[in-house]
Symmetry: C3
Subunit: 248 residues, 3 copies
Amino acid sequence: MFTLKLNDTKLLNNTIGTIAEFITDATFNITNEGLKLVAMDPANISMVILTILPSAFTEYQVNEPSKITINLDGFRQALRRVRAGESLTLTHSSNKLNVTIKGSSTKRFSIPLLEDEQVERKVPELDFKVTIEMDSKEFRDFIDDASIVSDAVALKAAENLLLLTAGDTGRKVDIELKQGSDILVSMNIKEPASSIYSVEYMKKMAKAASFADSVKVNFSSDYPLRLDFKALNQAQMSFILAPRIENK
Amino acid sequence: MFTLKLNDTKLLNNTIGTIAEFITDATFNITNEGLKLVAMDPANISMVILTILPSAFTEYQVNEPSKITINLDGFRQALRRVRAGESLTLTHSSNKLNVTIKGSSTKRFSIPLLEDEQVERKVPELDFKVTIEMDSKEFRDFIDDASIVSDAVALKAAENLLLLTAGDTGRKVDIELKQGSDILVSMNIKEPASSIYSVEYMKKMAKAASFADSVKVNFSSDYPLRLDFKALNQAQMSFILAPRIENK
Amino acid sequence: MFTLKLNDTKLLNNTIGTIAEFITDATFNITNEGLKLVAMDPANISMVILTILPSAFTEYQVNEPSKITINLDGFRQALRRVRAGESLTLTHSSNKLNVTIKGSSTKRFSIPLLEDEQVERKVPELDFKVTIEMDSKEFRDFIDDASIVSDAVALKAAENLLLLTAGDTGRKVDIELKQGSDILVSMNIKEPASSIYSVEYMKKMAKAASFADSVKVNFSSDYPLRLDFKALNQAQMSFILAPRIENK
């Protein structure tokens, strides 16, 4: 059983909204260490890893660890009803998640719990040759640029340079990001790497830019991509995406 | 014949827009007491009662009482063409309603009159056990909340408490409004009452919140609902809605 | 070969956006006198004539006159990716138009050149009895008003008066513009004239109001219409539209 209270629901709205791009029913683990979720999308191409820390809540009280599975759509609709100045409380009764919104009136949304049919997911340990931390909004824009001309984007890292390329015979987009650019936090390229990923998945992941200022882009040649979005003392949202195999 | 002039068309836009949610062709009675309409929706489940007072107009001149039937769509499109600083004049020629908009240029929209095929409607006299006056925007929000989970909403009034409930076995919304809340103007509960109404109809009615600050919600057990929206010295718009009979 | 640089892309966005309403592939002539286009729409009912002057560019360098044909959609999408503070450079390599956007990163969009299959268009010389210069946004609004009730608009000019009429047996719009109105720049009526044009085409042309403050409306009885939109020292966009023959 738990009681989680929030006075600002922006973070919850953003993270739940982003997860809903990948899955329809979500299983949350709620312990004293925070609210956690690890899920694969139905196509098994990507993994979503979310942690919301207890410090992101106004009140965080967990008597015993809980695992609840709910439909995200119903949860999002309830979240959208919160207005400025109202508080949100999540509690857990036998077969319901109760969302209570308090202002001049009291609104109570009950969302039925579903059976957890998913197997426990383990986050794979990966070894990356390239780690670039950059402005998250710029990253989202890059992916939007790439999505105009192609459904795949090539990431290439050489010494002091990140290159995103999309499209080929017809329209083409090249984006160059050099060491020293304003929008870089850090650029760590152990060895040159080159890999191709789905733009469609990256676009969904890039929505997490709405709650985090920067993103860590991790990859190696023909190897999965991992994106880490972090809001300090609040939440971390990571995504792992399988590479595309393509004739280059 | 009549000449009605307006320098601000917001009220007319709002009321005509709300009526258009219920009916396509409308019959207006224009007398020295104002512009009036009483109409039933095609399904005969709800009644709309509108009065716009002469004092809402900049100029209100009625030589003899007129009754005109027009298509609301054409009227709304003409109203939408008025811009800030322009005046609107409604006049009546043989078989047309003329809408004249004057600014730097003069625009004249002619809307053909239709034959009035509707029988005269009488507003039923009803006796309500519960009358609650509250903030109209909050009321609209409550109905929006309820519409998320169900097509019906239950209104329940007990001592010092109004409860709106929607949904049941699956997702559910409860909204509690207590005596003393900021958003209440008055709460008059002669005896406890409980009734169920269509959310779809209530949503259309709640659009009248755009011209009135408060709404009077009148009902009794398994009895029609009456909503009264009033803009002082300007207009009153009321709706009557038949209750739903449901297994409770 | 050419290098054209812009620090503000609004003008290019607006003009290319308007042309895209008429044609999908466009042939531009780029000479020391500016960037020019003359095109007919596929239905051969209207002509678009665009000139963007060298002075509209931050840098304008043309080594030899070039003629390039591109798909407008691809070009527009690249233009939309420019953000405040970024510069845009257009260059021309063997079979590509390169659009380079420079800010904290460098984005390069390559758009394939198409074969120019269009015959060279000559702008017809026309002799107009009526020339009215007016506020371009008001003109766009008039066309929007007319489009509500009909697919054709009649322009009539008599002494000191321009009349736009649309619709007939049912709904009807009349717009009267008199000598002396605020929204007129000049009104030159050599002889009364009356002609009918397609509202659909005029709506597309009126989009040019977004870059020019005024428009010259030129017509004669049952004769083509010519609209001239001009942004001083920047660009001129003109449209010629065949009259409609209708029973009046």
